[in-house]
């Protein structure tokens, strides 16, 4: 990457790094608590809504057949997508040996895990009989029945399950040396806690040698995984025959979108977080500049995908496709269609300018646009495609209700709650990887 050229030399010493990161785990500011309580509150709203859904049924949500999927699946895809940036940065950029990832990858990886945890809730929330969701798992039962592995939904179960497991493992493995470092800095019960979590890590040559290898293989496994997961999610749609869904470009299109949205979320989280945790000197403009470039890249891929969707819709000569895309742009839900194109395709193009890439306020605003836009992308794909497919007589426009928004809000609460707790409890910046980049001091003149 060209980034390496003007990569700012890290001026700190190992000791300073440890000190600054451990400092992030000290008693947090009031702002932190406000944020945390807000998150918990939002989560409780979602919980309440879910209880009502269990009691009365999914009818509370704004489904209008033929739109049988709506906000819940939209949000599911949204959160799965968020996850991808984390794995991309932590695994793929690791393989690429791209130096700028080190400062940010821990936070993004945590984001991945919690985003996938959030996403994992939605298939359960959205099904009609939530209490038997486990029928989707292949377990021996007295009925002798197995799930249908031809169903993309079962693929989902496996993909999301694998993704959650692997990314969690990846996060934990990465954490171990850092926890050890913290262990050796703190005292009292916290020392005991971190000691337990550090699994007796000492940083001996023997540990490092298996660790580095293992970490490498995990990254190598996570890389195809991250590409596959959102492909599988995209096949939830692409495997169907619904006009606007069964597109061959869906897999790459979704993966790009996922990373795009993920980085959007990274920006949204990191920009305030670095201030709250006082790590501005570690997570610098340089990092955001690179994140922004990645955003620009994926955003442009999306732009292309959108264009292709419309082109193929028209070029297919298939009346169903044509109607769908005509109505996506000019139908009753045109606003959603355009929200997606403007927020994703157009706004991302602003990042051609370095001024904007390095202006954090601008980046933050853009990242908000990205989050909204990407949510709408999924909403449009699901709601508008379903609302007008084959049988005109059966067409119908869905309009989300409080039950939809309640769950959506709750999902954000759930996610932020975990993320904030994590940021308080574990090093949000990867100590050992930063140190790996700082050469040990030398006696005979530096290198």
């Amino acid at each position: 990457m060209t980034a390496i050229a003007h990569e700012p030399a890290i001026t700190q010493t190992h000791a300073e790094v440890t000190r600054d990161v451990v400092a992030t785990l000290d008693t947090p500011s009031r702002g932190y608590y406000i944020a945390l309580f807000a998150a918990v509150g939002m989560f409780l709203v979602g919980l309440g809504t879910f209880v009502l859904l269990l009691k009365d049924g999914l009818g509370l949500a704004g489904y209008v057949p033929p739109v049988m999927w709506l906000v819940y699946i939209t949000t599911f895809v949204f959160w799965v997508g968020i996850g991808h940036a984390g794995t991309l940065i932590s695994a793929i950029l690791f393989l690429f040996r791209s130096p700028w990832r080190t400062a940010v990858y821990r936070s993004t990886e945590a984001m991945t895990v919690f985003a996938v945890m959030t996403a994992g809730l939605f298939p359960i929330i959205h099904i009609g009989r939530q209490w038997i969701f486990y029928w989707l798992l292949p377990y021996p039962n007295q009925r002798y029945l197995w799930p249908n592995f031809k169903s993309p939904l079962i693929w989902d179960v496996f993909a999301i399950g694998t993704y959650l497991t692997v990314s969690t493992t990846f996060l934990v493995v990465g954490l171990v040396p850092d926890i050890a470092a913290v262990r050796d800095k703190v005292s009292g019960w916290r020392k005991k806690l971190y000691a337990a979590c550090s699994l007796g890590w000492t940083g001996s040559d023997n540990q490092w040698r298996h660790y580095t290898r293992g970490y490498l293989y995990l990254a190598a496994l996570a890389t195809p995984l991250v590409l596959s997961v959102h492909s599988v999610v995209s096949w939830d749609f692409a495997m169907s025959i619904i006009p606007g869904w069964h597109g061959t470009i869906f897999a790459p299109y979704f993966v790009a979108g996922a990373i795009y949205s993920g980085i959007g979320m990274v920006l949204t989280l990191l920009i305030p977080l670095r201030r709250v945790l006082k790590i501005e000197h570690m997570v610098t403009e340089y990092h955001f500049d690179n994140l922004a470039k990645l955003t620009l890249l994926t955003g442009s891929i999306l732009f292309y995908a959108y264009l292709m969707e419309y082109f193929v819709g028209w070029y297919s000569g298939n009346t169903f496709e044509q109607t769908t895309f005509y109505r996506r742009a000019l139908g009753p839900q045109w606003w959603a269609g355009w929200a997606m194109i403007i927020c994703n395709a157009f706004v991302s193009q602003l990042l051609w300018f370095k001024k904007i890439r390095t202006n954090l306020t601008a980046l933050f605003v853009i990242s908000i646009f990205i989050n909204i836009g990407m949510w709408f992308e999924r909403y449009v794909i699901i709601a508008s495609s379903l609302s007008n497919d084959f049988v005109p007589y059966a067409w119908g426009q869905a309009d989300p209700t409080w039950a939809d928004w309640g769950i959506l809000l709750g999902s954000f609460g759930w996610f932020l709650m975990y993320f904030l707790l994590f940021a308080r409890t574990f090093p949000i910046v990867a100590i050992q990887e930063i140190k790996e980049m700082i050469p040990y001091p030398r006696r005979k003149g530096g290198h």
């Binding site: 190992h14 000791a15 440890t18 292949p138 002798y144 029945l145 197995w146 799930p147 249908n148 592995f149 031809k150 079962i154 693929w155 496996f158 399950g161 694998t162 497991t165 692997v166 493992t169 990846f170 493995v173 040396p177 050890a180 470092a181 262990r183 050796d184 800095k185 699994l199 000492t202 940083g203 001996s204 040559d205 023997n206 540990q207 490092w208 040698r209 298996h210 660790y211 580095t212 290898r213 293992g214 293989y217 995990l218 496994l221 996570a222 195809p224 995984l225 596959s228 599988v232 096949w235 050992q432 990887e433 140190k435 790996e436 050469p439 040990y440 001091p441 030398r442 006696r443 005979k444």
Partner: protein, 168 residues
Amino acid sequence: MAASSGVLASFEHIDSAVEAIHRLRARGFTDLTVYSAAPNHELEEALRHPVSGVRLFTLIGGITGCIAGYAMTTWMSYDWPLLVGGKPIASIPPYVVIMFELTILLGALSTVAGMIILSVRRSLRGRPFHPRFSDDRVGIFAPCGPEQVDALSGLFRTAGAVEVTREG
């Protein structure tokens, strides 16, 4: 001789640590334990370790997952044959997804298992350690009998250790 008895030296400068390792190996001390806060190439080269065996775990785990994925899907399809969408009872293309996911899953899990199993070596248990090793110092522990302690301490000092202690 007990694995935990020997000399523990800590270094500020990487080159001194490397030099110490070279000298120790020259003296025939190969069973060293070198602590560092981050992996370091110079140290690795100096220690001349063989490649870690983790990859074998990864490979076997992955293959197992792939086979399990194929076997499970196909067998379950035939165990209670149900026709859907005019497709074959067991059709491979959709099952590839399951096979892939299980490959990754078992691959990753067995990798971690491998890391843990391999890192935990009985012979290294209870070797002395100093908190600063996880911060900014490089530590080298060379196990040896009482008779060699002074010699080793000297070696470390001359190599540029900032601190040398006798253990056990």
